[in-house]
């Protein structure tokens, strides 16, 4: 009578989705593969630099990939929020100059965290307006979306030029984050360690929100199947606006980190980073958060290794990586189902 037995969905017999560990291993393999070519002390330095870059890129790109996954909206204007964050940082840190130059870690961190908060708040607010004015009227029309968000990017960049001027603005690191820690032979720049730390905190917060809260559950469900979530009575539109604002705020935070990483800011920063984060989310699989993390780490590590070994090739390492990944998995490392 086994055929008649009701198939109850107890936790024991629900087939568990197999976790695909191969892309994660890829990061480790890449790091180890570089080891024989580089002396161990340099390797540590480069790996930390690569992880720092990867974490910053991840912070920026995570919002973009979620927005795409949830609402099928690809925001070509995402770079504006990065630039906004970086420029807000120049203003805030410039105003808090005393805190920046004091050789006191607490004062320095206070300045940086203030800058981050202001940048996130402003980027989030602008993101809210951006969604209202620019993105909302063109849902479901890919062609118009690309054009209109690109237009938003142009206008945003010009407004930034009008406010802060078109020239390059230096963004020096605070006193206590300059220089490097030395472990044996390996020198690790303090700021990079700081960036990895901030990135880890953001990652942990993101993972917690996505995996352990109701909102996170709804977001993940929305990425999988938007209509189903809607039919269950949840207003996915409101959710989407929230994700868009959060993604913009994260881009603003990433902009602060990126500006400090480069130690200078130009209005074109948004367009430059845009290319990088597009490559990252293509590599990761459009809409996938984990893929975005793996893609960002791969891009960061590879850029630093090749930058050391073959500086000329480094400029194309991202493209080469993208082509290689797409040849292997045409939908990206972690393809999102139903897309």
């Amino acid at each position: 009578m086994s055929a008649a037995a009701p198939l109850l969905a107890t936790p024991a017999n629900v087939p568990k989705a197999k976790f695909d560990v191969v892309p994660l291993l890829l990061v480790a393999v890449l790091a180890l593969a570089a080891l024989p070519f580089i002396s161990p002390s340099t390797w540590v330095t480069l790996t930390v630099a690569g992880l720092a870059m990867g974490m910053i890129v991840f912070i920026i790109a995570s919002g973009l990939t979620l927005v795409f996954g949830l609402m099928d909206v690809l925001n070509f204007g995402h770079g504006v929020f990065i630039a906004l964050g970086a420029f807000v940082a120049t203003t805030v840190l410039g105003a808090m100059g005393g805190y920046m130059t004091a050789p006191n870690l607490t004062a320095n961190l206070l300045a940086i965290f203030t800058a981050m908060l202001v940048a996130m708040a402003l980027a989030g607010a602008v993101g809210f307006a951006f969604e209202r004015v620019i993105v909302r009227p063109v849902y479901g029309q890919h062609l118009k979306q690309i054009l209109i968000t690109m237009g938003g990017m142009i206008v945003g960049e010009e407004l930034i030029k009008a406010i802060w001027g078109p020239q390059q603005i230096p963004l020096p690191l605070p006193e206590s984050l300059r220089g490097a820690f030395v472990f044996g032979d390996a020198a690790v720049e303090r700021y990079r360690l700081f960036a990895v730390l901030v990135g880890s905190v953001v990652l942990a917060a993101l993972l917690f929100t996505l995996n352990r809260t109701k909102i996170g559950l709804l977001i993940r469900a929305g990425v999988q199947d938007r209509e189903m979530v809607e039919s269950l009575g949840y207003r996915i539109r409101a959710l989407f606006v929230g994700v868009f604002v959060a993604g913009s705020a994260l881009a603003g935070l990433g902009g602060v980190l990126w500006g400090l990483y480069q130690q200078s800011v130009i209005p074109q920063i948004g367009a430059q980073v845009n290319v990088l984060i597009f490559i990252v989310i293509i590599i990761g699989g459009l809409g996938s958060t984990l893929g975005c993390l793996v893609g960002a780490l791969l891009v960061g590590l590879l850029a630093n290794y090749t930058g050391f070994l073959l500086p000329k090739v480094a400029l194309f390492s991202n493209i080469a990586l993208m082509v290689a990944v797409l040849l292997w998995r045409p939908q990206g490392l972690y393809p999102v189902t139903s897309r």
Partner: protein
């Protein structure tokens, strides 16, 4: 009249105002060297001609096939660099130009075929992102290979004697004038070929794909193949336009043909002029370049007049003219997706694109 209609592939302006505007632009380009004196005016006219071809080729992609590419300047740059590199290496001769253009065309077609087959299978959005990345990489490549491309400084080169300013067979004719008319002729011929393309059965399939690719596939057209063809064709004409620009300037560098700003200009022109209407390229390019070269002076005046109000002066400064274009661009995409041409046709009581009528 019948012959003219055949020349335009029976895709007439269908609006008296538009016909007048087009006629003014065509006549203006033809008589520009004699009516508008000065090197700047001639330069603007030549650039208008080159951009008409460049934007029309992009319209084939964006307006007719409905795919967004950000790599169009890459092909434009390839054409310009082809002529520039061949002319510096082989000296000023016709064979250098032919060889440079030929090499650039082969490279463009191969590259566009590759990109197309690689990424056009998936979504339009995917193609847009891939082309953005590839174009960025190409730009870096061009500035890195400075032995070949002259890096950021670019390449200045000599053109064959007949086309150089020193060539003066009579007192009113010189090499510059010959170059100008050669460019106008090539652009006009190419434009008619493009017009023929989009009004052929092939063009109809492209429009079907734009409207509903799923249905087009269901009817039995291999959409990947058609999209790739459209991409390759557009790339070829962009390469030609690039070569013409290099011939006119006798110089090529990253800023003149490869920069992302030019890509934005193309997007602005095609949207403001009218997507999916070849005439939009003509009207858009003429308006845009005239504005770019002369309107900035006007903005300077406006900024001077608004000097008392600090915020207004800031956004009215001539350096910020792209801001206003960006706003215009967004407004156009929302409210006039078929641009100036579509607007004029609507006023004339017709449909905006030829496909709608049939």
């Amino acid at each position: 009249m019948n012959k003219l209609s055949r020349l335009l592939s029976h895709d007439l302006p269908r609006s008296r105002a538009l016909a007048v505007v087009l006629a003014v632009i065509a006549v203006g380009l033809l008589v520009a060297p004699f009516v508008f004196p000065g090197a700047k005016a001639l330069g603007v006219a030549a650039k208008i001609a080159v951009f008409i071809l460049l934007v029309a080729s992009y319209d084939l992609l964006l307006g007719y096939t409905g795919i967004v590419s950000f790599a169009h300047t890459m092909f434009f740059g390839l054409g310009a660099y082809g002529v520039a590199i061949a002319s510096t290496r082989l000296g000023a001769s016709w064979s250098a130009i032919v060889l440079g253009l030929g090499g650039a065309l082969v490279l463009s077609l191969a590259l566009s075929l590759l990109i197309g087959l690689f990424s056009l299978r998936v979504k339009a959005i995917f193609f847009a992102m891939i082309t953005l990345a590839v174009a960025a990489a190409f730009q870096t490549l061009a500035s890195q290979l400075s032995d070949l491309t002259g890096g950021e400084d670019g390449l200045s080169f000599k053109v064959p004697e007949t086309l150089s300013p020193a060539f003066r067979p009579t007192d009113w004719l010189d090499g510059r004038l010959l170059t100008y008319y050669a460019i106008v002729l090539v652009v006009a011929l190419s434009f008619f070929v493009l017009l023929r393309c989009v009004n052929s059965p092939f063009g109809r399939v492209l429009q079907a794909i734009r409207e509903n690719d799923f249905r087009a596939e269901a009817i039995g057209y291999r959409t990947v193949i058609y999209r790739t063809w459209s991409n390759v064709l557009a790339a070829g004409f962009a390469t030609l336009a690039g070569a013409l620009l290099a011939l006119w300037l006798r110089y090529n560098g990253p800023d003149t043909s490869l920069s992302f700003e030019i890509m934005l200009d193309i997007l602005l022109i095609v949207v403001i002029g009218g997507m999916g209407t070849m005439y939009g390229a003509v009207v858009g390019a003429a308006l845009f370049l005239i504005a770019q070269n002369y309107l900035q002076e006007l903005l300077k005046l406006a900024a001077g007049a608004a000097g008392g109000v600090p915020g207004l002066a800031l956004v009215l400064s001539p350096d910020r003219w792209l801001l206003w274009l960006g706003v215009l661009f967004i407004v156009c995409v929302y409210y006039f997706p078929s641009g100036i041409v579509g607007r004029l046709r609507l006023q004339a009581g017709g449909s905006t694109s030829r496909g709608d009528r049939q």
